[in-house]
């Protein structure tokens, strides 16, 4: 019962945090906002800042939920889409979509997230099967496989860019991770993927809990483990693809947000998933607000900022938990 009260408190706190941070973020920026609003100000507020805030929240939530899924899949709290190479795979896919100029508008689809999904799925599947070569995922193999796959996909992306130098600056900037191009169109791209994948993941919360007990135990309790793991790989790839295709590769949100929530609530996915989604959204919104105001009017890429904070955090976790995690 204590856990349920804590969960409710945390959810209320996170929602308040999101709303307050959102309001503050609305008011910050190079154009001062004074009431009554003129049409220029309201354009800034509702066509630039509001979609940007919503997008940061959604991408943060998507990365955090993907992080939770990867951590369950690998039974390892250090798993993260950025570290596992999924983000690099998605970035390659998205780059191909942009450079090739493939247009699926006639089908009512945007090519970028679809290609990003293909890349993310390929990268994740590779890491997953490499990591399983010793029958169960081992931390070292998983991390090494993630590094190798991530480096390989990044190299492919660089190679593509090398031949299309006129597009390089734009794509490099996007890949560093950021929301400066965020408009309502991007919000509309991410929302269905995030919403669908989140609800689907949440419906699998009990299965994810079982997976944390180990594949064999989960099997004995009635879970078709391999089929379930494939679903998780696909769902996580959808989330990462949606996030990367609008905002580039943003690291460590997927690891930091669930970790903090797990410390407060424990590992039960039924509360971990929604709370991590909110926490991830809040963290990324804070990071983005900092990124665009710290050196205003110059914007820092938010991915650089999250990695500045997330990198040392990762090392700290690695150091603290090295005995428990192998």
């Amino acid at each position: 019962m204590k856990v349920i009260t804590k969960y409710r408190l945390l959810m209320v706190g996170l929602i308040l945090g999101v709303v307050l941070t959102g309001l503050v973020a609305m008011s910050l920026g190079p154009v001062p906002i004074r009431f009554p609003l003129d049409s220029f100000q309201s354009k800034i507020l509702f066509d630039l800042r509001l979609p940007r805030i919503l997008l940061a929240l959604m991408v943060g939530a998507a990365l955090a939920v993907a992080g939770v899924l990867f951590q369950g899949l690998f039974r390892n709290p250090l798993a993260d889409p950025y570290i596992l190479g999924t983000s690099s795979g998605a970035a390659l896919g998205a780059t191909i979509a942009v450079l090739s100029g493939i247009n699926l508008q006639s089908l009512g689809l945007s090519a970028r997230p679809l290609f990003a999904f293909g890349g993310a799925l390929l990268a994740t599947a590779l890491v997953y099967y490499l990591g399983r070569m010793r029958k169960r995922p081992v931390l070292t193999i998983m991390l090494l496989a993630g590094i190798a796959v991530g480096a390989f996909f990044s190299a492919l992306t660089s190679l593509l860019l090398f031949f299309r130098q006129e597009e390089m600056a734009k794509i490099m900037f996007w890949m560093m991770g950021g929301f400066s191009y965020a408009r309502w169109a991007e919000v509309r791209i991410v929302l269905p993927y995030l919403g669908g994948a989140f609800l689907y993941s949440w419906s699998l919360a009990r299965q994810l809990n079982l997976l944390l007990l180990g594949e064999e135990k989960a099997h004995q309790l009635g879970l078709a483990v391999e089929q379930f793991q494939r679903r998780i790989v696909i769902t996580a790839s959808v989330l990462v693809a949606a996030a990367v295709s609008v905002s580039g590769a943003i690291g460590f949100i997927g690891m930091v947000a669930p970790h903090i929530v797990r410390l407060l609530l424990g590992p039960d996915h039924r509360s971990l998933l929604p709370a991590s989604a909110l926490a991830g959204g809040l963290l990324l919104l804070l990071a983005d607000t900092l990124a665009r105001t710290l050196l205003s009017p110059v914007e820092l890429p938010v991915g650089v900022l999250t990695s500045f904070i997330g990198g040392p955090f990762f090392l700290y976790l690695l150091h603290k938990g090295r005995s428990a995690l192998d």
Partner: protein, 273 residues
């Protein structure tokens, strides 16, 4: 044990891992409503056999029938309602509470969005009371001792309300008191709930004391099966385990009790050192 159909049978069961033949042409029957033990030396294939019987491994050849149905045709979820499995060693780095872990035994009964029902909570509480884990309910599974964790695992398997309980050396981490307690608990469950128990045993005397039926394995083949008095004969134990054996009686229960010695040529006579 003579009355009912066997709950589980295997015919011509073989299992190969790569080129290694681990189980060869096993035929066995696990009688309903009694305590059956699997015994054999390390590496004889006991754990592999158990994994075939609980559908973790698919046999290379042969057929397993569980409660009248071909095991390959039973869905995992349906199987988990009928068969609980207690592994030999189990750990998780994730800090679930004991109660949460036991509640996971109700997984095969719960729908995707459904919350736990009153019935599930009652089954869980009863399973925890029976295994003396109720007082651990709010403790974290990561902080328990090996013996406590083993009892939690048994509670979880009981929460599945199975007809058959499979145990892989259930008492290898327990002290003598806990060992007797767990075995007595299993006996009680067999008597009161009609449960069937199939356990892999390392300790032959423990198997002799609690099991009504024994399956003795050597090099992946069945060497003997039947009542402990017949299976645990001195020539059988010598042939399978390579030790000299004298069979006596256990003073509390009168069940067979084995005294071992290495081959007399290698070991001096008692009192000779």
């Amino acid at each position: 044990m003579e009355t009912a159909e066997p709950i589980l049978t295997a015919e011509g069961l073989s299992f190969c891992f790569g080129k290694n033949q681990i189980l060869t042409d096993l035929n066995l029957a696990v009688p309903t409503g009694v305590f059956t033990g699997i015994i054999g030396p390390n590496g004889s294939g006991k754990t592999t056999l158990l994994k075939c019987l609980n559908k973790t491994l698919a046999p290379t050849r042969g057929r397993i029938t569980f409660m009248g149905q071909d095991l390959t045709r039973i869905k995992l979820r349906a199987l988990a309602r009928l068969m609980g499995v207690v592994p030999q060693q189990w750990e998780t780095p994730f800090a679930f509470t004991v109660q949460e872990v036991v509640m996971m035994g109700r997984f095969p009964y719960l729908g995707r969005w459904a919350g736990e029902r009153q019935e599930d909570r009652m089954v869980v509480r009863e399973a925890m009371r029976a295994t003396n884990t109720w007082e651990l309910a709010e403790r974290l599974i990561t902080e328990l001792s090996g013996g406590e964790r083993q009892r939690v695992l048994i509670a979880q398997a009981l929460a599945q309300t199975p007809r058959l309980l499979l145990l892989d050396e259930p008492t290898s981490h327990l002290d003598v008191n806990q060992t007797l307690e767990i075995c007595t608990l299993l006996q009680t469950l067999i008597r009161t709930k009609g449960l069937t128990v199939l356990g892999v045993f390392h300790d032959l005397n423990l198997a002799a004391r609690y099991c009504q039926h024994l399956i003795m394995i050597k090099d992946g083949r069945i060497y003997a099966q039947g009542a402990p008095e017949e299976v645990l004969s001195s020539p059988n134990v010598t042939a399978v385990f390579g030790v000299e054996t004298v069979v006596g009686a256990e003073p509390f229960t009168g069940r067979p009790y084995l005294y071992f010695s290495l081959n007399r040529r290698q070991e001096g006579a008692p009192g000779g050192h």
